[in-house]
Structure formats: C-alpha cells, structure tokens
Symmetry: C2
C-alpha cells in the first residue's frame, strides 16, 4: 500500500465529466460578440511565384469585413527556430498549403465564398520534394538565401568511432526511413483573436507553449510580448503539433484590421496541408558489437525533411542524432544530421521528437545484431543497458532506472521465452527498448525550470496556477494530485486555473516529456510552501509546534492526535483574515540540476530524470495477403512513480496505438509536392478493431528528482513501438523492412522475393 | 511641488478612453453563448395575499425556457442584515415591485410576453406606507413576526443629556424630514448568471461588495460560498445602491433551472420599483448651546423607513443616530433610532449612509442656533469643531483634521463675509460642515482590513489585484497611482485586474468611504513588498546594497547614481527566471488600528481616518414663483491628500450635484404604496442647466494612517450640500424648510405665510 492518499491513485481526470457530457468549451467553441470567421487562401502549387493578388472582388462581397495579404502583415521574417516564416506569402509560395491571403466575414459560408473570389496570378516553378534530392547540387532552392537547401547541420562525436568500429566483431549497417505522419488530433489548429483599443491582442489558442509562443508572435506581429495575452482553453489534442502556427497569426492580423474578434479554425484539409507533421528521416546507421555482444560504436547520418520552413526540424534531427546514445553504455558514437528544406509542408514536433525515429533504427539494428550473434535480443540489451546512477556518453546523469526490470517484467507478461522458443509459422514476437528525457535543458537557452502558484482563498478554495499546457494528456489532474497530496485535501478541493499569460507563471510548456517532472516539481514546491504557511496558522490555532502539524483529509492536527483537529477551511479563513483579506498565496519553483550542453561536444546533463521502457509486440502475418495483425502488446515503462496509474496506463496505451498506426498504416502520400490524402477518408489511422490487447506495466523506480518520485511518460510511450512491431514481423517472416510504414503490399512483395530466393 | 511622480497628479482615469469610445463592456453588455434573457414579474399591489400563481400559459409560449416561482427557490429566508428576504414572494406580496415570478426566454420580447401570460390571483390587503403610521399600535403588519413593524431599534448615550440640555442657554428643537430618493445610476441593476455542470455558479454583477454578496447569496441559494464566483465587470454607477438585490438571485435560479446562462437586467421601471433607494427619516432633534456658543447636548430621535424588507436600513439609521456627534466637541449626546417596516420599496445605502440625513438636521439646527445667538455660523462652528488628534465623544481617534481650514478657505472663496454683510434681497448664502469615516469597523463583525496582490510578470507587466469595487468613482486609477508611485513606474505600466472572487483578495468592498484609505493601504502594502523583492534582485544585478536602491521612471538605480540603471522589465525578467518562471507575487495587507465598538455604548475608534468638509452655497429665490437657483457653490474637503486631484474634484462636484438634486428636485412620489413616478420622465434629477459653478477646494491635511496621506471623499462630498443650500435659502428668504425637498411650491407657500404674518 502506498503511503499516499491522492498520489498514486487511479482517479478520474478532473475534467472528465465535463468533457464526457460535452460541456467543455474547446477553442473551436469560443464565440465572442461581433466575432468574425476567418479563412485562409492556400497555395495550390508547391512552388510558384506570385505575380499578383487581386482581392477586390472578395472585398466587395457583402459580409466580408477584411481581406488581408502580405501587405497587411508586418514585413518581418520570424520563426520559432529560424527566421524563415512570414505570416502570408510575399513573392512566392513555397509549399502546397502555403498561406497566401485570408478573409474575415460574418459567417463561414461568406468567408469560404470570398476565398473563391480572390484571384492569384501564380507562375509555377520547379520544386524539390525529397530531402535527399534537395541536397543535390543543382536542386531548386526553396529559399534563395539557403544554399543547398540546408536548414541546419548538426554534428556530435564522442570517443573514436572509426577505431571502435574497426575493432568490432561485427558491424551492422543499414539505411532506415521513417515516413511523414500527421498527429491526427481531434481538434484542428486555430485561434480566436481579439484586439482591444490599446492594440493589445488576446489569443485563445490551443498551444503547448503559451509563453514561448507569445515571444515568437510578438516578433511576428511587431509587438511587445507584454501586449500579447495567450489564453489556453481546453483543446482537442496536440501530440507535439500545436506549437506556433500561421493560422493563429492570420487570426490576429484579421482581428487587428477588422477591429473585431476573429476565429480561424483550420478545416481538416487545411490542417493536413499546413500543420506540422512528423519530420521524415533517412537514417544511415553503422553499429558495431564485439563477440560478447558489447556494443562498440555507433555512427549515424541523418537527413531529415524540414519542409518549406523551419518549425522545430533542426532540433528534432539533432535529437535523433544522439538521444538514443544514452540508452546503452556507448563510449564511441558519432552522428551527423542535416535538416533540409523541401517544397513540402513544414515539419514539426510529434511525440518522440526525433528520438522515436532513431529508436526505430537502433532497436531494429540491435535485433539484427542479436540474430547475427545468435543471442536473445533481451540478453543483448541486458548486457549493454545503462544502469541507475550512471553517466552516459553525453554526460547525462541517470538517476533511477528501471530499464532492466522493464525488460524482465515485459518478457514475463508477454511469455517472451515461450513464444521465441516455440515459434509458430507467420507468428512472431519482437522487442524494443527506449530511453527519453523528462525535460530538455537545451530547448530554451535562457532558462529551464518550473513553477506553480497556489492560492488558498478565505473560503478554503484552492486554486493552482501553472504555466504549462494540458493538451488532453491529463496534466491538470496530475498537478492537482500532487498539490492535494501535499495539502492533505481531496482532488475535488483543487481548481486548476486556465493557463493565461496574464495570470499564470511563465512555463516553457508541454514538450520533451517535461510536464509531470519539471512542472510537477514546480507545483509541489508551491504546495510545500502553502503547507508551510498554513501549518504556521494551524499551529497558532492549535497552540502547537509548527513542525508537528499534519494535514490529511481536509484537516490539520498535531501528529499523533488526529481527534483534535481544525478544518482546512477554518485555517484558510484565519490565514486570510489575519492578512487583511489577502488570500494565502504560495509561489514555488523548481530549478532542475541540469546543464546547458557544451556548444561543441553537446556534453551535459540536459534533464533532471530519464524514463525508460520496453515494448514487446506479437504479430501474426497472413502469408497470402501480407496483412499484419498485432495480436498482443506489452508495454513496460519506468515512470519513476505513477502519479495517477490509470492516466499513466492511458498514456502508454495511446502511445502504443499511435506507434502501431505509424508502423503499419499511416502515410502522408505526397506526389510532386501535392498531398494526395489530406482527409481522414484517405489517411487511415488505427480504429478500435486495429488495436490489440495492450498490457501496460508500470515500473516504479522512484526517481529522486521527480515529484513524489515521478518521471515522464508522454513520449516514451510511443518510442519503442515501431521497432517492437517490425522486429516481431521479422521474427514471424524473416523479412526486415527498413522503411516505414510496413504495409501489407510491401510485406507481401518482400515475402514473394524471399520465397523466390529460397 | 509634490515629491511624488504619480501620486498627486491629475491623471486621466485608466479606463477613460475605453469608456469614452464605447469599448467598455458593462454588465448589460455581456453576452454568453446560449444565453437567455430573464424578466421578473412584480407585484402591482403594495400588500396582497397570493392565492395562486398559474405559469402554464407562460411555460407553453415558444421560446420560453424556464419559469420560476417561490417553489423553485430554496425555502430559506436570508438577507444581508436581517433574514426577511425570499428570492420570490411566497404567500404574500409586501410592496409594489415585490418579485413574484420570473421567466427566462430566448429573447427579451418573448420574456416580456411571457410575463403577461402568468396569472396571479392576488387578494389585496391593507398596507402601511409611512414609518410613523407603521409604528401605530393597530397598524397592519408587513411581517407577521415583526410586532409594531419594528425592524430594528438603536440606542446610544454618552454623558448626561437631560442635565446638559437643562443647563443650556438655549435649546433648539425641531423635526426634520429627509425624503426618499433614487440613486439614479446610469446602468440599472442586474446580473448574468451561469452554472457549470458541478453546479458552481458564476455571477457577473455590478456590486460594491462582491465578497460579502457571495456569502449572503450562498445562504439564499443554499450553496457553499466557494461554489459561487462573483465577477465584477465595469458597471454603470451605484452610489451605494448596488449591494445585494433579488434580480441577481433570480438570474441565478433561472440559470440553474434552465441549464443556460441567463441575463436579468432591470428595466428602468423595475429598478425604480425594487432598487434600494435612500432611507427616508424623521429626525427629531434637541440641540443645546450655552451663551458662548458652546454646544452642550444633543438629543435625537430618528424614525427611518425600512421599506418592506431589510437591506441596510438599521445600520443606516444607527449611523444617522451618532456619526455626526464626532464633528464637534460634544460631551452629552443621546439618540434613539427606529427602523420601521412599511409596504414600500426596501431602502438601502445611498452616499452618506444616514450621515447625510443627520448632517442636514444638525447643520440646519446650528444655523438656527447661530441666528439665535447672533453669531456668525462659521464662528459657532469654529468654537465647537473637533480638532486634529482629539478623541470624540464616541471614542473616535481623530487623526489629521482640516475642518477649520475647510471653513476658512471655503469662506474666502465664497466671499462669505461680504455676502453675509452686504446681503441682497432674495439672495442668500449658507454654510454647512460635515465629518465622515474612511471605513467602518462596525460594518462587518469578523474583520476589517484591506489587501492587495501585485504580480510582476517576466515581461515586466504589473498586475494589481484587489477585492474592492470600482463603481465608476475612479478607484482603479487611484490604486494604480499608489502602486505605480511605489514601484517607480508609470500609470500605463499597471493593469488593474477585474475583481473576481476566484482570483482577487477578499475585500469588504466599496462603502463607508473606505476604498482609498483601507483598500489603498492594502495596495500600498503589496507595492511596498513588491518593491522590496525587486530591489533585492536589482541590488544583485547592480552589485549594490538593497537599501540604496531607488526606483523611478521605470528604472532601478543606486541612490545618487541614476546614470547607471537597469530597466524595470530587466529586473522583472531576472526575478522570474531565477524563480523557475514564477512571477514575482507580492501580497500586502493593511489592518487598520480600529476597534469594534462596545456593544452597549458603541464607544470605540471605528475608522483609521476621518475626513471633514465645509460647503457654502449661494442661492437666489424668485419671490414670485418660489423658484430657487443655486448660483455659486464652494466645497472644501479635507481629503488628507488627493491621490488624483482631478478625480477628487470630480467626486466633490458629483456629490454637490447629487445633494442639490436631493435638496431641491428629487422625490419618489408614493401614494398609498404606489410609486407614481418610476421613470426619468417623471423623476427629475439635475441636468447641466441646474448645476451652478462649483469650486472644489482640496485641503490636504496629510493623514498619518492614509496611503500617501489620503483619506476618503466619496460620501462627505455630498453630506453638507443639503444644509448649505437650505441655510442659504433661509438667509435669502427667512424661511427654513425642514422637510426635503425644498420645492418652489413649498417655498412659495411658506413665503406667502411669512408675508401674511408680517
């Protein structure tokens, strides 16, 4: 039994009922008085000069209140990572879906009609659509000032890789390809924008990074950050995609020009065309091993598709280059990454942030090496796995680490040994591991940390303010559990305030699996301070020593004497009354013991805690059709401690399903820069019938740096899924497909080749 | 020249532009998705049994979503001061305008139509409409459980009044009557109510007392206070009236029943019928004086009309009984007050809160005494005026006191001596003084005090949270000036947050002229704490001693070295970054050095500071018509320090105009319980042509307890106006009219009597 009353309990999400009965107001549901509806005219060409835009007919349409083109936007270039964005295209369109013009009208139908009345004189020009093609010397340039279409290069090196590989017993070498997939959140991107008479802008927007967005949009709109207010209502999922997006800025410019609130919500097709899908990567890997199965060296070259402008592609490619190195006891590693412009949709973050791509490559490679060594894949990983309290090749200080237990427990649950030793035809079992971070010091130069504010009102009402972002993953509930535990009250007594940059603490946001660990520590710190203040008041009221005060079940009492208590709300009332009516406000913060990595070597401990995991997939293949069915899935994750086991299991299940979709089904089909399948009719994601039995296993290593021992789970939940499935397919068929997705057609074709070669 | 940069400056209100161009969204402007419009069916009878209410036809009307009667409300009695309220009438209507039933419909027209479809079977019964009649032994009872229709009695006594009067040179004796007047704010009462799925209620409502309202409404709605959120948007004036009102609760019940947001805004007629106009009072006064003009004793009996239920009538009558005693060096005083139920509109607070009524009586009486003694009215008052640092008969510790300077300066400005000595026919000049409080410890038993919260964001944005209420008097601007002064920034850099009981500190609210003094001290305390924290950060950055840090013009620097500075926003950024992104939050509070008065003797210092004032009116009377024209008005007020002279002068001018209306024009004409003139067509208030030249004089006595030396001005601005005008009329005509209003008809009739008697 846990010693805790709220933490570690499988409690329903605090907003579950509201969502279940349709009371939640998502961004799309926001309606303001006099609000207009905005729509964006997008380029039908992947690469075209814009000779002229005639908006006169659109402006003349009754009900149209504003039409904007580049001329209505500040003539600045901006972007979260590279200043290659404009709000609307100036002289050329650089991808199909590029924002050309926009309208705001009294209703959506009029806005739609107005788009058709805008005449754009395009001159299509040759484009480049694959990152490898884009690196060719004579490739068309996406941006004239970016020679070779290189958006960014990244290098990392530790030890002597060439020597290590030379001395290896065996070097495995392969090129993997991970395809571009869409995050498929339920609510498309968009925002409601309103300016007040002082010019101050409020954006209601579903974003993972409200505070960083504000700074980025301040530049885009030529405003001071303090003149922008970002409010984050409930929003319908993100999975990494909902960072900055031009649809928000278009809403802002339309609001500014029209003087009325404007809502721009992408129709689903627009969202497919101009969201921020996953960075596709070519991963060339060389992986050496000695005859005992000890990994000797790893050398990779990655080429990632940036799309036409930079979202977070370079950071994602760099992550792919080296994060996975800290999963094992590597000593000699080298990576070179290129993020390359193409005339395709700009690519961005998607659960895993590059680590999923390279985990697929590494864990597939290890499967091949284990076979070469005739070694059980688990044994191979057990030999190499990094342990607790070790320092990785890149200087990561691993704290708690349940990786080995993840493997052992997953193997038991999946009957690994039996299934491997008693293999049936066309049935196979595969395994993959992963590591990840719980926050990434490298993401924002200036700052890392988390904070929370707890307000205890005169009536005992507790409000928790944080600056992160709940995209539906359950962050609010986890935060409330952490605070409730510390304050000795129930979950229902805590209200988690909407993130609002005017009110909330500054938080970096939800990415890098940092929410629970860094944000949660900020919350815990605030709760600890609130408890300290309340305990002081309670001690006075109970005429006891402050250090002896205990809070539990909504009461304060002296340790050992629970029968003589005062209610939480009585203490709150006294705390306020004795301060002139001011609520008790406790501010707490957490500065993680991390380091900005060395600019050259990237050496440095970038995260306060590192989660690990192991997935085992069991598949069945139909040899006649190539159809692959995942029949069983076990996902063991070292989560430090599950603040809410039910929610943590939900995260794991979601990650597995998303990985399954990526591995077997999903693909954005681009032909000459044209997205063929921008709808859920043609872009297939897993439905209920595609989902196998998933057994999530929570390994609780109790991380010393985590709040109540917790580490992150958001991204690792997905990361090993792809390799686990493809390794299982190999185990079932002897076919190793290196390019995702592994469709039935692809597999059948390989099965035919295999039987032809026999 | 002031040593201050922001305090003491005549700066425009921070919300002036917004209001001027129509951008301010008042309560009436709030629109929520799916919002319904509520209307209240009111009793046409002042006293009637309700035999039956048939709402079936109203419910059947398309577009009607909810119809409520008493049965839909919690069967509780409640009320801010006496539990004699129900949200809707149960078995009888007790005044014309009493709330009988209500509807919520999709628009106002449907709601209006639905009201007409509700059939109420009334049995009219005899009523009682004048408080003196209501005290008669056989008078009909408004409430069966209130014998003699007595809502409350109040007694106070100090010294030996009978003896003092007996030993007097002269005892003046008279009965005054002060009429019932309507506060005539621009925006009628009302609220928008919304319940969420947990049953939690949000009320957007213009109220002076958001936090106390919440507790009162919790009882009315049988809810916990923490389940009610009160948000106070900008609202269109109050002048005391906007405390609790059933229209708000009707909105809440309609929202609860319909499951949709409901807006109830009183049509103007409803507001006249069921607002909270001024308590009418009969004031019997005996005032003794010795031959030197020293006041010997004061004995009063007051009968105040409570209307059909208790708003704040008893507190107002008790205030009328004794507040004015601390204006002079009284030693022997006695008062007896009765607050009496009648079948008329419930009466409530109106600028002055009873002190205006008794100031009229006292200052009129002093004018008569001065004449009896052949003494200049100023000399009489100078002899008796309480001085600075004196303790009054009721234990009030007077701090700064510019009363004598008020008289001197007003007399100079109005050319008092010349006008008195060189009197022209039918032209006269009159004077009256006043005292008041700046907060009243007696108002809420549990607590007095003020607090503020200052949040300095990472971007340097400063937000000030307070729990008081700006009804248009300029409180937000005064608070912002106090905070800006302390933080060394400009007014524009401070945002004053909307009062929201979920977010703001608990504040008692805007009444008893307490805002600037008690609320302002809370704000100053928060600003002082914010400065302390910022100075610490700045000291680190400047490598200086914290105590040497100065803030001015948006910069921090070391005293004496303004050339080496860091910007306010740089310090703010550093303060936040070094705390994990948490904003700097400073909580400050002010507990005034006041005492709960003794329950029997009422002895005790109830306010931290006491403002004083002197008005001089000059009038001209047309002997043919009795028409009275105020030709000049000088109003000198000891405000301690004017935080914003322009705003303070505005308050004074407004008070004078309101007093002028009360004295000469305004009257709610009630005939047998029926209000004859419930509209601005028939209820006349002063227009621009009625307003004389008003010269406000700011006497700055620099109150030690006040923020930057300030005291209150809201109520005293009005209090002496009535007597100043009637004393001037007496000076002009020799007619002293003891019952307000002094209409031309009344005066002409008295003039005729006078000339008949000559």
């Amino acid at each position: 039994m846990s010693e805790f009353r709220v933490v570690g309990k499988s409690l329903p999400q605090i907003d579950a009922l509201q969502k279940a009965i349709g009371e939640t107001r998502y961004v799309s549901d926001i309606t303001l008085p006099r609000m207009l509806y905005g729509r964006i005219l997008r380029s039908p060409y992947p690469h075209a000069r814009i000779r002229n835009i005639d908006v006169s007919r659109a402006e003349a349409l009754p009900g149209v209140k504003s039409v904007i083109t580049y001329a209505d936007t500040p003539a600045v270039r901006f972007g979260p990572r590279s200043e290659d964005w404009t709000i609307l295209a100036n002289t050329k369109a650089i991808f199909e879906g590029d924002e050309i013009a926009a309208v705001a009208a009294v209703d959506e139908d009029v806005a739609e009609e107005a788009l058709e009345l805008i005449t754009v004189d395009y001159e299509p020009i040759p484009g480049v659509f694959d990152p490898l093609d884009a690196m060719a010397p004579d490739a068309p340039l996406v941006h004239d000032d970016k020679p070779g279409n290189i958006a960014a290069e990244f290098s990392i090196q530790a030890g002597d890789v060439d020597d290590a590989l030379k001395r290896s017993h065996f070097v495995y070498e392969a090129r993997y390809f991970t395809n571009q997939v869409y995050q498929a959140y339920l609510e498309p991107m968009g925002a409601v924008a309103q300016t007040d008479i002082s010019g101050r802008l409020t954006l209601w927007v579903g974003t993972q990074i409200p505070n960083m967005m504000r700074m980025s949009y301040a530049k885009a709109l030529s405003m001071a950050p303090e003149d922008i207010r970002i409010v984050v209502p409930d929003y319908g999922g993100a999975f990494g995609a909902k960072m900055e997006n031009n649809s928000h800025l278009v809403a802002a410019v339309l609001a500014r020009k029209s003087g009325r609130p404007v809502k721009v919500i992408n129709p689903r097709q627009d969202d497919f065309l101009a969201g921020n899908p996953r960075v596709p990567m070519y991963i060339d890997i060389k992986l050496g091993v000695d005859s005992d199965g000890i990994l000797t060296g790893k050398d990779v070259k990655i080429v990632g598709g940036n799309g036409a402008r930079t979202v977070y592609g370079p950071a994602i490619v760099s992550t792919a280059c080296y994060r996975v190195d800290s999963l094992y006891r590597f000593k000699h590693v080298r990576a070179k990454g290129y993020t390359v412009y193409t005339n395709t949709i700009p690519t961005g973050c998607f659960r895993g942030f590059g680590n999923s791509q390279s985990t697929f490559a590494l864990e597939s490679s290890l499967d091949a090496i284990a076979e070469e060594l005739s070694m059980d894949p688990i044994e191979l990983r057990m030999k190499n796995a990094i342990g607790p309290n070790e320092v990785s090749v890149h200087g990561w200080k691993i704290g708690s680490n349940g990786l080995r237990e993840c493997m052992t427990r997953a193997a038991e649950s999946a009957q690994w040994s039996e299934k491997r030793s008693q293999k049936k035809p066309f049935r196979g079992i595969g395994l993959a591991c992963c590591n990840h971070v719980s926050g990434n010091r490298a993401f924002a130069r200036e700052f890392d940390g988390g904070s929370g504010i707890i307000r205890v009102g005169r009536d005992g009402r507790v409000t928790l303010y944080h600056g992160e972002s709940d995209m539906g993953q359950g962050q609010k509930t986890a935060f409330a559990q952490i605070a409730a535990e510390k304050l000795g009250i129930s979950l229902e007594q805590i209200e988690v305030a909407v993130v609002d940059t005017d009110v909330s603490p500054f938080g970096l946001g939800s990415f890098a699996t940092r929410g629970t660990t860094i944000g949660g520590n900020g919350v815990l710190s605030a709760a600890t301070e609130a408890f300290r203040q309340l305990a002081g008041v309670a001690a006075d009221m109970l005429e006891a020593n402050e250090d002896d005060i205990v809070a539990a079940n909504g009461k304060f009492f002296v340790k050992g004497s629970p029968e003589k208590y005062i209610l939480f709300k009585e203490v709150a009332n006294q705390a306020s009354t004795s301060r002139g009516g001011a609520p008790l406000i406790a501010v707490g913060s957490y500065i993680p013991p991390t380091q900005l990595p060395d600019p050259v070597t990237k050496y440095g401990n970038i995260s306060p805690a590192y989660p690990f995991g192991c997935h085992i997939a069991e598949v069945e293949v139909d040899p006649e059709t190539g159809e692959i069915t995942v029949v069983n899935f076990v996902a063991a994750h070292d989560v430090g401690r599950a603040i809410n086991p039910m929610a943590t299991e939900g995260q794991i299940e979601g990650g597995v399903v998303q990985g399954l979709g990526w591995t077997l089904m999903e693909k954005m089909v681009v032909e000459n820069g044209h997205l063929v399948n921008p709808s859920f009719l043609d872009y297939e994601i897993p439905g209920p019938l595609d989902v196998p039995k998933i057994t999530p296993l929570l390994i609780e290593s109790i991380e010393p740096e985590g709040p109540y021992g917790a580490k992150g789970i958001g991204e690792p939940a997905l990361n090993p899924s792809m390799a686990a499935i493809t390794n299982a397919i190999y185990n079932a068929t002897g076919v190793r497909i290196l390019a995702l997705p592994v469709t039935a057609e692809k597999l059948l074709s390989e099965l035919h080749k295999l039987s032809a070669n026999k």
